[in-house]
Amino acid sequence: MAKQTFTTGQVLTAAQMTSLQQTAMGGGSTTAKTTSYVLVAADAGTVVQMNAAGATTITVNTALFSAGDTVQIQNVGAGVLTITAGTATVSTSATLALKQYDAGTLYFNTTSAAFFFAVDAADSPLTTKGDLYTYSTVNDRLAVGTNAQVLTADSTAATGLKWATPAASGSMTLLSTTTLSSTSTTISGISAAYQDLLILVYGKTNSGANGSFYLKPNDGAVTLVELNTNTSVISYTADPLYLRNDTYAVDATSAVNSYQILIRNYANTVAYKPFTASGAYTSDRPGIDPWFSNGAVKTNSAISSLVFYITGGGSFTAGTVKVYGVN
């Protein structure tokens, strides 16, 4: 029953006692609403139940209720019911937007200030599989990201969180696999989309005499500054990168050779590109000879092609070059 003012000597009817009992047990008479509504004084001690398909509001104004008055608010409709502070203030730790079957008690601390105590489900903003329960200035929902995204702190986001695709790091992408053939083999059109280039070469044989095997980034439009394993001088300049040491030539028929060349910052258009290279090959002594070279590709241009040459008057008869883009 709505809030009553009893008088001395008043005799309550059975119906009044039943209604009081219901109210005391958290129930009470219900005022059904189907459209937005502004609370009135007679709502004190009752249940205001909204049942609407669309969004509605219940507005709370001042000077209607006494301190200690309560109004239960329920939403049984599909539309969201929002408790709106009109001239009174309404404070809550939960949300004032009630989904279907959310409910709570509006408790008036003073005639102009009410607290809304939501029942447990009322403050959950979660609606969809994968939602995260977060907080902005109120309890809030963060919808699930796409596959493989990771949760990332972001102070500019409303909740301080967002789903983001992690930056690629430390990954290698095979750009090409090329079989060595002819007297020179060019690998062109190398993508500039990576940080470094890793070049693996192995199993080279050739039809000519034992000789040299060398690489020209951008086909000789560049020079190298290198420190070679068998060179006594600290700085040595040559056009190509010879994949052999200075003493022993590469055996033409043995496929037992393998090299790796890592060129850093290869797509940069301002600076030289440092490289490190190493490997081993069957030499003409015969024997297995190690080889290494360090230095820089002396060009300001991006490296977009690699050209391998064989000397000795023949052609490559076998050999594989794999080029990886590295981030």
């Binding site: 090409s176 002819s182 020179s184």
Partner: protein
């Protein structure tokens, strides 16, 4: 006599073509090869000369290093 062949693998299109070296490419290739032969020969000569000098002095390479240290 035909010039040596070159193979070009375009990684953007995955197209592979083979053709003869142009006269300019062949000249650059020969120049590089001759320079390499000369460079290797010079290194070999330096090694031979060093060995001969050590023999003339009657000392080993390690002894020569010790002398120069």
């Amino acid at each position: 006599m035909a010039n040596p062949m070159v193979t070009i693998h375009n990684t953007e299109t995955n197209e592979i073509i083979e053709r003869e070296m142009t006269a300019q490419e062949f000249a650059a290739y020969n120049a590089e090869e001759n320079a390499e032969i000369a460079r290797v020969a010079a290194i070999a000569k330096a090694t031979t000369d060093k060995t001969a000098l050590l023999a003339k002095l009657g000392i080993t390479a390690d002894e020569a290093k010790l002398l120069l240290s």
